[in-house]
Symmetry: C2
Subunit: 587 residues, 2 copies
């Protein structure tokens, strides 16, 4: 056990990540300080959505107040831009607080200018990044931000049907699309790979390992999802732009696009029998809403606001953002998680005019999650509460709320495996520490283990984003790309499932970064993804934008290096989504 | 047919009434101009909720703007009070518009001070009252209001669980209440009578016609509702205060109270088998929300915000007020109508932790409504759209959206009768004209008439609020208390149901005002209500607060005067709710 590497994340990186915020890789400790500054700046400059939003934002400064410093119009616009890039992710677009504290003027004015300057400069143990001492913000900018925070926040614009519809574009009408697959690609084995900082996805053939296509998308694609039939691929950027790609075309490419808000994270498509490929849904951070669209054209059909009461204190929250969305296999429903208020919405899409929603009180700060191996139960992290909520998608009820035993669970969709002792379990690792938690998911044959943390063991360290296995695999892979230790960040821990009956199962370390042959950068290794057959697992070696990145493919049986994909177009690869595994919820 | 009396309402009265707004009886034409001013002032001064709200309101004036007149703190507070009394009902608490136009600063500043002064003084044909020329507002106040409207509106405070719970008071705990009825009153034949301007209800024994009790309540009680068992009576004031009265006690009186917001209209109790007396629900105008409470103690259980998108244009509305609420007999559901956005919510109360809501797209400006004779279909007016929406409470779907053929339907809960030609129909009269509309409600045996206006005929005139009949009655009664003609306002039109096969059925006029023996005031006659047996109908003779009022009881068979209740405690009686008819939805 390498306890020396079980370091916590830097405060800046953790804070930025907690709510699905944008993380610049420079925010974590890097072995190359010269690079750090370069990429920090570059990542910030790339944050396009803020610019779009601000164009429409009312930047009127509500008139002078005694003791409230005035900002020039240009200063206010600049501060607004910085706020949206650096602060809004934690403190909220409206400054009402989320993971970060509220920054409304009754609070900031009580604290005063000097306090704010000091706080922004030095950060706090509670998670506020040290923007000044880290070198991420200049003294001038910190002074500007402190003055900005003493003024009332501008309200970002709404984004209702008129705006959504205006952004909607059908690039290839349904009638002009092929009636059958026009290429020879085994589309079920395509990997859709997010190229984070270039605003693109790469489609890579799972067999030949060749890049089939690089497609322009929204900024910093968060996820890819596949229509039930496997034909349509949906990607969503943090700027809330969805691009829909038709994999049947001779050259797979975009057929429709739309923007469903100013900032977003999630997209999904209908999977219930009879509704295959019928609807798409996306959830926005701002405005707080979800949008149901036609599954073939992205035509917007229904917008539903998620503004409402916190589940526990029942006070009104103006900005409850939509986190993960999942399609149920048991009912014609989407599961929409609402972060700040802690509600899980089961949205029945069988009748949009008479929309039935079951609103489940779960836990605040819902983030990401996935289904158990049967597809019946949805497990989702309430990250800042260090819990996992379990919903029975058949009965539409909360089944359990479980403390994971670790700090800040980040399951992605989790990993399902058959434990030698506890039967079917679902696994999550953690952002905040080295804990790997196994939750029993079989209330029938393993009733006493169901919805309990049956085992925790230690991985390489904190800063883990994803765990992965496959029904045909005998291994569990755990990444730790955000660990401040470079060696830990660039390698993967592999557990043998058969060893898990032991109290402290050992793991093997795969030096993926080293295997990539890349010698520069931190070589963060992130997000294992199996191919369709389940015999090889792909990892991203995620470097800075100006550095070399790669995808490293490992043979699951032998745990040996099988292939390295290198290409100058592979800029900052992060998430990878195998078409078959994604559409079938195999993870 | 007395066509000379089919006058439209004064603009002021209609505007004030449209959205359940507060109407001062002085707003309609009165034969006693001297009284008019007196009551106008008195009614305004009584508007208590505005004072409560403003106490907590941030009355900070957002700093000076070029061209925007500054108000002193005292002026701003005064203008705020007037706005809440006179303007918010139509223009919205947040000035975003409702029946009245939006009054946000980008609009008011474009129009400018002089325009606003002129508009407030003279009104408009579209429905804006002529506050100046009517004598209701002084020149100084109009100038103040015009300046006030050029400034940003203050945001009224939220009213979440903390505030609701703080207002909650159990006066007699359940354990200390009687286990059986401790009085000799036939409680099913009690009438709960709103004493509008005194902030009370009168409980009147249906047999002896004696006042049993006068009970202090919230301001201007909007409705009374009875628990399924008939034991508990709930009244809600416009100030959102609910008082719960136990009719089993030796002396019926309040056992619990609560305030669910700053302004409200509706309260209801659960009626589905197995849930009798279990829950109460109330809907607020501000904040836009509904609150589900324990049916025996009023303990608040769940608050749900109604903020969201308009059903048609799908743009975000910050203030969609809750209008009527009705308990389903077919499912454990409440039907909650949301006015500005046009949604009808079927709220399943069988599992509050996993709350299921079917959100039906209906029509904007939902107001009041009731069930058809079978209890399966809910018919509700979209008043400013001159339509009625029909919901099938069994299938949870919108069945029809029907133009009533009149101007501004105001059905109350409507009236159900068996038409000699069209079978079961539901009736509404109109605020804006003399039309009485009959809608077929039997899709099984009278399919071709179902959900169509099968007949319209003319009553005495516009300004009608309520129609009434009873399964045992052969008559339909139509009031017209807001008609500007004093004789029309103080009398009732009665139609013989058997005459309705005629093209233009005649009506008989009952001079209820005259029968009351009162000689002063307009003697507005409002809201017929049957006794439990269904052989007599009660009418309120509603006069000014300082004038004599009465209740006049008519024998349904002979249409002759049966009894007049006069008592100095009967101050401004309006709505009356017979316990049995109300709890069984007989109307």
């Amino acid at each position: 056990m390498r306890r020396d590497k079980t370091l916590l994340l830097t405060r800046a990186a953790l804070a930025a990540l907690l709510l699905g915020g944008s993380i610049s890789i420079a925010q974590a400790k890097s072995p190359a300080p010269a690079d750090l500054k370069k990429h920090g700046t570059s990542a910030a400059d790339k944050y396009k959505p803020s610019l779009d939003v601000m164009k429409d934002m009312k930047v009127d400064q509500p008139g002078a107040k005694p003791g409230v410093p005035a900002l020039s119009k240009a200063e206010f616009a600049k501060a607004n831009k910085i706020y949206f890039q650096r602060c809004a992710g934690c403190h909220g677009v409206l400054r009402k607080g989320a993971t970060g504290k509220a920054l409304t003027t009754e609070i900031t004015r009580k604290n005063g200018l000097e306090y704010l300057i000091s706080f922004i400069t030095h950060g706090s143990p509670a998670g506020m990044p040290n923007w000044g001492t880290s070198g991420d913000m200049s003294k001038q900018d910190i002074n500007l931000m402190a003055r900005y925070l003493l003024n009332e926040p501008p309200t970002p614009p709404e984004f209702g049907m008129a705006e959504v519809r205006k952004s909607w574009k059908v690039i290839v009408p349904v009638a002009k699309r092929p009636k059958k697959k026009m290429n020879k690609i085994n589309i079920d084995n395509i990997f859709s790979v997010t190229l984070r900082d270039s605003g693109e996805v790469a489609l890579i053939d799972g067999k030949s390992k060749k890049i089939l296509q690089i497609i322009k998308t929204g900024y910093a694609v968060h996820i890819s999802r596949i229509s039930s039939s496997g034909r349509y691929l949906f990607v969503i950027g943090r700027d809330a732009k969805i691009v829909m790609i038709d994999l049947w075309m001779k050259t797979p490419g975009p057929v429709a696009e739309i923007k469903i808000g100013a900032e977003a994270r999630s997209v999904e498509t209908s999977k219930y029998k009879g509704y295959e490929d019928k609807y798409a849904i996306a959830g926005a951070y701002w405005p707080p809403q979800y949008v149901i669209m036609d599954g073939e054209t992205l035509e917007p059909r229904k917008i539903v606001s998620t503004r409402g009461m916190t589940y526990d204190t029942q006070e009104y929250h103006p900005e409850p953002r939509v986190a993960s969305i999942l399609a149920s296999h048991y009912k014609p429903e989407f599961l929409v998680t609402v972060k700040e208020t802690g509600h899980i919405l089961m949205v029945d899409y069988s009748d949009l005019k008479n929309l039935k929603v079951t609103d489940i009180e779960a836990e605040r700060f819902l983030h990401d999650g996935g289904l158990d191996s049967t597809g019946r139960y949805f497990l989702v992290a309430a990250n800042a509460r260090h819990k996992v909520a379990v919903v029975d998608t058949k009965e539409s009820k909360l089944v359990a709320l479980i403390e994971t035993g670790g700090v800040t669970p980040h399951p992605g969709r989790g990993a399902n495996l058959i434990h030698p002792k506890f039967g079917p379990v679902w696994v999550t690792s953690h952002l905040g520490d080295e804990t790997i938690s196994l939750i029993g998911t079989d209330p029938v044959k393993h009733k006493k283990y169901a919805w309990k943390v049956v085992q925790t063991f230690e991985g390489q360290g904190g800063g883990s984003l994803f765990v992965k296995t496959h029904p045909k695999s005998k291994h569990l892979y755990v990444d730790s790309p955000l660990n401040p230790d470079a060696e830990t960040a660039s390698s993967i821990a592999v557990f043998k499932i058969s060893d898990m009956a032991q109290k402290e199962p050992k793991y093997k370390v795969l030096p993926i970064g080293e295997w990539s042959g890349i010698t520069e950068g931190v070589r963060r290794v992130v997000q294992g993804e199996f191919n369709m057959k389940g015999d090889e697992i792909w990892f991203s070696v995620w470097n800075g934008k100006a550095q070399e990145s790669a995808i490293v493919i490992v043979d699951d049986k032998t745990l040996k290096l099988k292939h390295v994909i290198k290409d100058k177009r592979l800029i900052t690869p992060t998430g990878k989504f195998n078409v078959y595994n994604t559409r079938k919820d195999i993870y």
